[in-house]
């Protein structure tokens, strides 16, 4: 067999768009060599959310430590990298800048190609570290800042067919958790309580128009807050577990039903779940039940659901293969548009 040996490709990924300072090395776009995440969740707990300036200060403190640890774990050096991929947006500008400038400094010093990555493209590509994609595929992206349904017909192409019109699913989780006086981040706590509670409160489901794949969680959030306030005024104590279970039932039902309907309509071969809320056990169970063996369902392992840099390196690998290169003028773009980002790759 005259097989040509292809040289292995190594991409360094850098992610600092929000809470986490993360770096990772991924081989050939599909294999994690090293994956290091320093989280700031401890310091944000005090504030019940992300505070931008604190976020950037922590990233500055962490980034060189994370860099050293990543290369140590991989037993490699920057010289071994084919390219450096970094999240350029969306996110908090002060936080993004730390990653972008570190990437530029490394790339410039070691004369390596630089690749900008869209954070959500990264979340989707976290799944490719698990299993090869088959197109067309549908991605449900659910996190603190996003709730989107995205169709991909080929690598690097993203079409948003539905998105939230108000709050993101993860944001609704955080706000409801705050009302229930649960610690930040609220999602895992609600998930845990929901498991033992009973969904006995009938909270609304926002289906919107028949043909719409958009989401709305603001009404649900208000309904939960009103229910809690009314109970308090009447001197009734609602079980936190039941409120959590009822709230989660509404979110999960809408997410699952819309994803299923879209998967059917677009005739996709795979359904991918991405983003921090993909770690939610209630959602994972319901999606598995609904899709059964009908359409292949990919849910990343827990450590790849939340923000990490392996996903940025994985998405960066495809962008690199497609000839995507960023210049030295690469800048943090807090409102980077996914569809425009995907078009850029094909130019």
């Amino acid at each position: 067999m005259g097989e040509i040996m292809k040289k292995d490709q190594f991409i360094l990924g850098i992610e600092t768009s929000c809470d986490e300072t993360a770096m990772a090395i991924v081989k050939n776009g599909v294999e994690v060599v090293a994956n290091v995440v320093a989280s700031q969740i401890e310091s944000h707990k005090r504030f019940g959310g992300v505070v931008p300036e604190i976020a950037s200060r922590h990233h500055v403190e962490q980034i060189t430590i994370v860099l050293e640890e990543t290369f140590e774990k991989a037993n490699m050096s920057v010289e071994d990298m084919d390219a450096i991929a970094v999240t350029e947006g969306p996110g908090l500008v002060g936080a993004l800048l730390i990653g972008v400038n570190s990437a530029k400094a490394l790339a410039f010093a070691k004369n390596k190609p630089l690749v900008g990555v869209h954070h959500i493209a990264g979340h989707i590509y976290a799944n490719r570290l698990n299993k090869e994609f088959s197109f067309p595929l549908l991605a449900l992206v659910v996190s603190g800042g996003h709730t989107e349904l995205i169709v991909m017909r080929e690598h690097g192409s993203f079409e948003i067919i539905g998105e939230t019109r108000d709050d993101a699913a993860g944001e609704a989780y955080d706000k409801v958790a705050r009302t229930l006086q649960l610690p930040y981040p609220g999602g895992p706590h609600i998930d845990r309580l929901a498991k033992v509670g009973e969904a006995n409160i009938d909270f609304p489901r926002a289906w919107l128009e028949d043909d719409s794949y958009d989401f709305s969680f603001s009404g649900l959030k208000s309904a939960v807050i009103n229910t809690l306030h009314n109970a308090e005024q009447r001197g009734v104590t609602l079980k936190k577990e039941d409120v959590a279970a009822s709230f989660q039932a509404s979110v999960v039902e809408v997410l699952t039903a819309k994803t299923y309907k879209a998967a059917k309509e677009y005739g996709v071969k795979q359904v991918i779940v991405a983003g921090g809320v993909a770690a939610n056990q209630g959602l994972r169970n319901e999606l598995q039940l609904k899709f059964n063996d009908e359409i292949e369902l990919l849910i990343p392992p827990l450590d790849l659901c939340t923000d990490n840099a392996a996903m940025i390196a994985a998405a960066g690998s495809i962008a690199y293969d497609q000839g995507h290169r960023a210049g030295w003028d690469l800048n943090a773009n807090p409102s980077l548009d996914l569809e425009k980002y995907s078009l850029r790759g094909t130019l």
């Binding site: 300036e53 002060g94 993860g170 807090p334």
Partner: protein, 151 residues
């Protein structure tokens, strides 16, 4: 201090009012929106966005604090709720002195950073659908805008 009141009976009416307001604004203008959860702050912002020619969906900026949209003028939509108990400056001056329109929810948490001249708007829920929208212009230019809008 002068104030202007408007009663809106539907979300459509609120959006129309916000759209009309947006056409009277100029680059660098700052608007604050106060009101409880569900009062219609996001609805009002969607109306401003529509008036500025923003075509993307305007949704909650709570998580990222600021969302930027490109219309005929840029729209900076901020929710500074997460900055409660923090005196951090996330570069407000650059937004306020920039070439876009800034809309701020929960502005009370950053009151030390707010420009002197601005338009404060309070949205109050009267019943299920009715909202009392009160404008508190700070500065002559905004008074004129309010007179034209509601007067």
């Amino acid at each position: 201090m002068e104030k202007f009141e408007f009663t809106s009976c539907t979300t459509e009416e609120t959006k129309r009012l916000a759209k009309k307001l947006s056409l009277l604004l100029k680059p660098g203008d700052v608007i604050t929106l106060a009101g409880d959860l569900g009062a219609g702050k996001t609805t009002f912002t969607k109306g401003i966005g529509a008036g500025l020619g923003v075509t993307r969906t305007i949704n909650s900026p709570t998580f990222t604090i600021v969302k930027e949209y490109m219309g005929e003028l840029p729209l900076y939509h901020m929710d500074v709720y997460r900055l409660e108990n923090s005196d951090e400056d996330i570069g407000f001056e650059e937004y306020f002195n920039g070439n876009g329109i800034t809309v701020i929810e929960w502005a009370i948490f950053i009151k030390d950073f707010l420009p002197e001249h601005r338009l404060d708007i309070d949205i109050r829920r009267k019943d299920e659908n009715t909202r009392i929208i009160t404008f508190f212009p700070k500065g002559e230019a905004f008074e004129k805008i309010c007179e034209e809008l509601v007067g």
